[in-house]
Structures are given as C-alpha cells and as structure tokens.
Symmetry: C2
Subunit: 203 residues, 2 copies
C-alpha cells in the first residue's frame, strides 16, 4: 500500500492533488443543476457533491465552489430560491461535462451544449428534458463553509419527475435501469451494475 501524510498532500503538484483528492471520496452522483436568473435567463451546470440529508422532510444538499470560481448557479438560486437537479445518462455525458466550461453569464449552457429546457407549469427553473430522473427544490438555507469559501446549499424537494418503469413497488428507484451515471474525480464517468440488495440489518 502507498501511505501519504499531510506533508505529502501539501507538496503534491496542484493538479495531481486535485485529481487524487477528488477521487478519494469514491463514486458520486454527478448531476445537472438547472436555474434561471430574475429575468428568466437559464443556466445549467454539472455538480458532483450532491447528497441526501433527510427523507421527511425531503432535504438534499450540494456543495457550491467559491463564489469567484462558480458564481452563476448560486446567484440564480439566491435570486429565485428554486432550482432543479437532473440525472445524467450515457448519451448525454459529453454535453453534461461541457457545462463545466466557464461560459459568460449571458450564455445559456442549454443552447451551447445542446440539451433541452423543459418547464413545469408552476415551477420557475428549467429541467433537462433528456433526463429520466429529476427533481425540483426550494432553497432552505445556504451555509457558508469558512475554511475554503465553499457553500452548503440545502433545498427541500418540491416536485419529482421519474420515468415510470424504474419505480419499484416499495419506492426504490432502479437507477441502473434508468442508466443514471456516476462520476469519479473531476472528469470520469461510469455506469453502475447491481451487486446485491440487502435486508434491513439487525444485531
């Protein structure tokens, strides 16, 4: 085994460190966050630190990078208090990854990368039409993380849109059937294959 200390980590070249540390936490649910600004200009960006906080109330968190590195999504959420999270599938991986390019604020990534905006009547944030699993959130809280100027953004799920045939009788979603991808590091994408589903564990 290779063993690395804090000093090793600090001495790594910047991109080597970014690649390794971003891989270390394991596979993650890279998804597209859709927003619009106060005058309805849409934005779409890929995020990989998206996580379940609770089911009742249904709360989801994501980490937004520092404001100067990733300003548009956060500013739009602050302006409108709503956003969508959309799963990525193999046929749209390149387009989804391309949303990470630094486009100017007046450009909508939907047009630039070739994904389709979709609006649900009562919800002022764009979904991705091509996505088979997607949900809309209302902002609950933005928690600044002072140590590195990132933000924990917490939203409450307000609407869920899911392809019919992946919902199991007990509510479980067969995400492998929907071919939702997962990611590793900052640039690598994977499909998931079932190993096993287990019973509730008792001592």
């Amino acid at each position: 085994m290779n063993i690395f200390s804090t000093t090793d980590i600090q001495n790594w070249e910047r991109f080597y460190r970014a690649n390794l540390i971003n891989s270390l936490t394991g596979f993650k649910a890279a998804s597209l966050i859709g927003t619009q600004n106060a005058v309805g200009k849409t934005n779409l960006a890929i995020f990989s630190s998206i996580f379940h906080i609770g089911s009742d109330p249904a709360l989801v968190g994501y980490i937004n990078r520092p404001r100067k590195a990733a300003p548009h999504t956060l500013a739009n959420i602050e302006a409108t208090h709503v956003y969508t999270i959309n799963h990525i599938h193999p046929s749209m991986v390149e387009k989804a990854h391309q949303t990470s390019a630094k486009y100017p604020i007046e450009v909508s990534e939907f047009e630039k990368v070739g994904l389709t905006e979709e609006f649900s009547q009562d919800f002022p944030a764009p979904f991705v039409k091509e996505s088979k699993v997607k949900y809309a959130l209302r902002l609950q809280e933005i928690v600044p993380i002072a140590m590195n100027e990132t933000f924990l953004v917490i939203g409450k799920i307000k609407k869920v849109i899911i392809e019919e045939d992946i919902i199991s009788p007990d509510g479980f979603l067969e995400l492998d059937k929907a071919q939702s991808i997962c990611s590793n590091g900052i640039d690598s994408y994977y499909r998931a294959q079932p190993i096993i589903r287990l019973d509730y564990a008792k001592p």
Copy 2:
C-alpha cells in the same frame, strides 16, 4: 413520466418515501467510518452521504443522522477528533451493510461483522484492513442542520492509504480497478464500469 408533488411526497407511506427519496439523489460512495471512544473501544459504521468539499486544504464532509438514531460515531469523533473513512469492495458488502444494525455501545462492529482493525502508528482511529482505499481525518467543524437534527461533519485529510496499482500518473484513482462499490437508496450496492474520461472543458 410520473410527476409527484410535495403533497404526494408527504402522503407516501414512510418506508416508500424513505426508499424513493434516498434513491433520488443517485449513486453514492457508501463507505465505512471507523472511530474509537476515549478508552479505545472501536466502532465501525456504514455511511452513504460522504462528499468532497475541497482539495487544498483537503476537506471531506459527511452527514450524520440525528443523535438519537446514530449516536456512536458522532460521540466518538467529538471525544477523539479523529476518524477514518474506508472504501467497501464486493467481497465485504454484506459485512459492511451489517454495521448498520443497532449494536449496543459496548460492542465493536469490527468483531461482530468480521472485519479487521488496523492502526497506523500515529493515528488513534481504526482503519479497515480489507479496504484498498482509505483515509484518516481530523475533525474541523460540526455544523448542526436544525431542520432535521442531522449534522454536517467536516474533516481535514491527515493520512491516505491506497493500493499501489490504482494511482494514475496524474493522481487520478482508478476506483473501478480497486472495485470500490457505490450504493443506491438505503440497501443496494453496485460496481462501476468506466464510460469515458473527458478533457477539461473550455467554452
């Protein structure tokens, strides 16, 4: 597509809602958190909301459920300020899942489920010997999330232990080669197969 509103979500039967909402955020890096209390009694528990916060400094967050539902890991981290996070592989999925059973505080899950404690000389928290990718953290901050009594626990990476042959020349970890698993919902486990690795995106 099936479309569900806030009212639908609230009206779902409790376990149906837990299954669906836990699947909605996508595949995630279920891993084992190893801790010990002030007198050296070890604890091991599976967590699935573990995420990258930053690479420099190297910060990782996880969501700890309410204190009454999942008390031991959090109490140990508060007592010792250190913990380990250990990847899970197919051969240890059942054992890892079994750590979610509610064992009394005097029982070490290592013994109960049959995984092996491993100590690194200068770090007072147990690693999982069987894990091919693991890292140790020092507690930086515990952020209470008032809405549902969970906690965001933020740690700084102090030590990294990785099987030699999965580290790419640029630092990227080939987690599919290590066969690190990912999870979906509360009870389902998967292996990941590469689709593509993409270049840094530019407009």
